[in-house]
């Protein structure tokens, strides 16, 4: 039996973006948040380092510099009108968070304290600037908690542990979502005037990743399966400092506080590559430099990792602390408690005594559901899907272009979550409910029945492991045509194996066996798009680094890629899969593309 609910607005996902949207939309609309996790379990809570805003509390700063850094950091693939909104609204949004009680760290005169972060500079690239507002190294946790608290205060409706499987779009009008109640596998239809997707990232397609087990991008896949486009999926960020092998993130905040990279010879190698910002260069660059060192045989012990060195002795020796000042152990323990603990718990290494082995880790999806600056989801390059919105990591506004700067994601969540929430509330006022198609839940029910009845020979876990290995090996920090070709074909094979799935749990109550299998299906779709889009883009830009095309190619590729699921095989010769690609122009306002040096 399917159950029906009706709300003005449905928000899919209870992370930073979803809660921010819920909070603002619920001021005038009847809103419900539908989320597969308890909101406080969302991955926003793991964000460590900070949230950028040109408050200028520590030293002079301006939103224009922030905008410039964002555009340059994104290797000029950023839509500059959106980047301007991001940098301008950031200030307001952060003050608003403070007014909601968020416990930011404080300066001696009582203002919000800020720290340095990769790629954030003063005066258009002159020197590193302290722009990241922070609460120790659990900024995301504080944002998530604060927003959830305010949602409780404002009595927002929550459907926790409801897994959204499908978005109901017909005639280009969104009418609601289909969800499964995890507790009893009951199918629920949420009928709504507007839907906002804020389901976060999908980094679980990679093996070494900072992302949670639950980041599988199911609603993004649903969007794609509806024939709607995904933008810039080839751009996936690899964060330079994951704990070796585990991928658990050690935030850039560490380098903001002075930590540096060290190779096998004990050199601070970033000096060679990026003389101005050095270890605080953007992530794509740092990740590549690490692998350059590894390839040159200067990885630690010749292996595939380098050290990040936090020791006050090292920081003071290289004068890499904020403003070149000396740091103390006490200060680091206070500024980075969680990061130090991760190293202690998971590596058994005390970073105050020994350097920590690190390796780039899959981290952030720059691409996703294309939206305009009000969070409205796009059906193609220009038209929106009526009543459908997206915000947060799953969306592509695009403010991150080819590479996101650290601390810019949390700003993205609050700025565009807020705008999306307001926009959908405004939309809901005059709008009526478009009727639900009778067969709205049919696809979901069919797929779940198929999985539940799966008596084949393939375990989801094995397919997932193969997928993750393949994506990490073939669509990682460095990419090349033949490898990516293998990945695209590999995913197709996995999709075939996925048809022959074996399911153990046939029950109704908390059947995560079936849900995980469904998630795998979503990952397979998204991985296919990612690999195919990467294969198609024959240039190196931001997070997309090709060995066979090492230059940025503005003449041909200064545009976003839009991937459609299609039966028409126009691009099949290149990608050999059922995806149709189109280009979408980049909006350039203030800053013309230049060579990217730090």
């Amino acid at each position: 039996m399917t159950k029906h609910h009706q709300f003005d607005a449905i928000i899919v996902g209870g992370g930073g973006a979803g809660l921010e949207a819920a909070l603002h939309a619920s001021k005038s609309a009847n809103v419900a948040v539908v989320t597969k996790l308890y909101p406080t379990r969302s991955h926003t809570g793991t964000a460590q380092g900070g949230i950028a805003a040109a408050l200028g509390n520590m030293e002079p700063d301006s939103w224009e510099w922030h905008m410039y850094d964002t555009v340059k950091g994104g290797d000029y693939l950023v839509d500059q009108d959106a980047a301007e909104i991001l940098a301008r609204d950031a200030i307001d949004a952060i003050i608003e968070l403070e007014h909601m009680g968020l416990p930011f760290d404080r300066t001696p005169d009582g203002k919000i304290e800020q720290r340095r972060f990769g790629g954030h500079t003063a005066n258009f690239g002159e020197k590193a600037v302290m722009r990241a507002c922070k609460a120790a190294d659990r900024t995301g946790h504080m944002i998530l908690q604060t927003l959830y608290q305010q949602c409780i205060k404002n009595k927002v409706n929550f459907f926790n542990e409801y897994f959204v499987t499908d978005i109901i779009v017909e005639d280009n009008v969104c009418r609601g979502v289909v969800a499964i109640n995890v507790a009893d596998s009951e199918v629920h239809l949420f009928h709504a005037k507007a839907v906002l997707i804020a389901s976060g990232g999908f980094g679980k397609m990679f093996k070494v990743t900072s992302n949670a087990h639950t980041l599988t991008g199911d609603p993004v896949a649903a969007y794609y399966r509806r024939g709607l486009p995904l933008e810039d999926m080839e751009f996936f960020q690899f964060h330079p400092t994951g704990i070796y092998k585990l991928g658990i993130l050690l935030s850039e905040a560490a380098r903001g506080e002075g930590a540096i990279f060290i190779n096998d010879k004990g050199e601070r190698f970033m000096e060679r590559y990026m003389p101005t910002l050095k270890d605080l260069a953007p992530r794509d660059i740092c990740s590549r430099c690490i692998y350059e060192e590894v390839r040159a045989g200067r990885g630690i012990g010749g292996k595939d990792y380098v050290y990040m060195d936090f020791r006050p002795g090292t920081i003071n020796k290289f004068k890499s602390g904020p403003g070149g000042r000396d740091v103390t152990r006490e200060h680091l323990e206070k500024a980075l408690p969680d990061i130090l603990e991760f190293a202690r718990v998971y590596m058994g290494i005390d970073p105050m005594k020994d350097p920590v082995p690190i390796q780039p880790t899959a981290h952030y999806a720059m691409g996703g559901i294309p939206t305009d600056a009000d969070g409205r989801a796009l059906a193609d390059n220009t038209n929106v899907v009526t009543g459908l919105y997206a915000a947060g990591e799953c969306a592509c506004v695009s403010v991150h272009g080819a590479n996101r700067l650290g601390t810019n994601s949390l700003v993205d969540l609050v700025v565009f979550g807020r705008r999306g929430g307001k926009a959908m509330a405004d939309f809901c006022k005059p709008a009526g409910f478009a009727p639900l198609p009778i067969t709205a839940a049919a696809d979901t029910i069919a797929e779940f029945d198929r999985i539940r009845a799966g008596r084949g020979s393939e375990r989801a876990a094995a397919i997932r492991a193969d997928l993750q290995n393949m994506m990490t090996n073939y669509v990682g920090v460095f990419r090349n045509g033949p490898d990516m070709q293998k990945a695209v074909e590999g995913v197709r094979e996995l999709k075939a194996r996925f048809k022959n799935i074996k399911t153990d749990d046939t029950g109704k109550i908390f059947n995560t066996d079936v849900l995980e299998t469904f998630e795998l299906g979503c990952l397979l779709d998204l991985a296919e798009v990612t690999a195919a889009a990467a294969l198609r883009r024959t240039e190196t830009r931001g997070g997309h680094a090709r060995e066979d095309f090492q230059e940025r190619d503005d003449a041909n590729w200064l545009n976003h890629s839009m991937a459609y699921r299609a039966d028409d095989k126009r691009d099949a010769a290149v990608t050999r899969c059922d995806i149709r690609f189109e280009n979408k122009p980049v909006t350039i306002t203030k800053f013309q593309p230049k060579e990217r040096k730090y």
Partner: protein, 130 residues
């Protein structure tokens, strides 16, 4: 704007004391008093004098001194009050419905009054030599 104080702020925020606040305070207060009261009592009666030396004569001899009567009165008031309130705490752990808790609280209150009254009258009345 740098005129912000750097010392911790102290604020007043009194929630009206409830019965539970009072009882919590009483448990601490009586607890402190009971250390000398109970320990001396126990040391004296159980260890130094010993039950074999205690009989009506002994009690009469002790209670002839008013100070000991006051002492025993305090012991009765604080130890038994403390213990019975402790019992109420424990009862609230095991009885979950509001009504059951009420019934237990009343039973404990009555038990406390009755036994305290018995003890109190005896201390005031003193030994009735047969």
């Amino acid at each position: 704007m740098s005129a912000i104080s750097s010392t911790p702020t102290v604020r007043k925020a009194a929630a009206p004391p409830t019965f539970e606040t009072r009882m919590w305070q009483f448990m601490r207060l009586s607890g402190v008093l009971l250390i000398p009261l109970v320990w001396i009592h126990v040391a004296l009666k159980d260890v130094i004098v010993g039950v074999h030396a205690i009989d009506l004569n002994y009690v009469q001899k002790i209670w002839a001194i008013t100070a000991w009567r006051v002492y025993d009165m305090a012991l009765l008031a604080f130890a038994f009050g403390h213990g019975m309130n402790g019992l109420r705490h424990v009862a609230n752990d095991y009885f979950h419905s509001k009504s059951a808790q009420k019934i237990m609280a009343w039973a404990i209150l009555i038990g406390w009054i009755v036994i305290t009254a018995i003890g109190g009258i005896a201390i005031i009345g003193g030994v009735n030599m047969p």
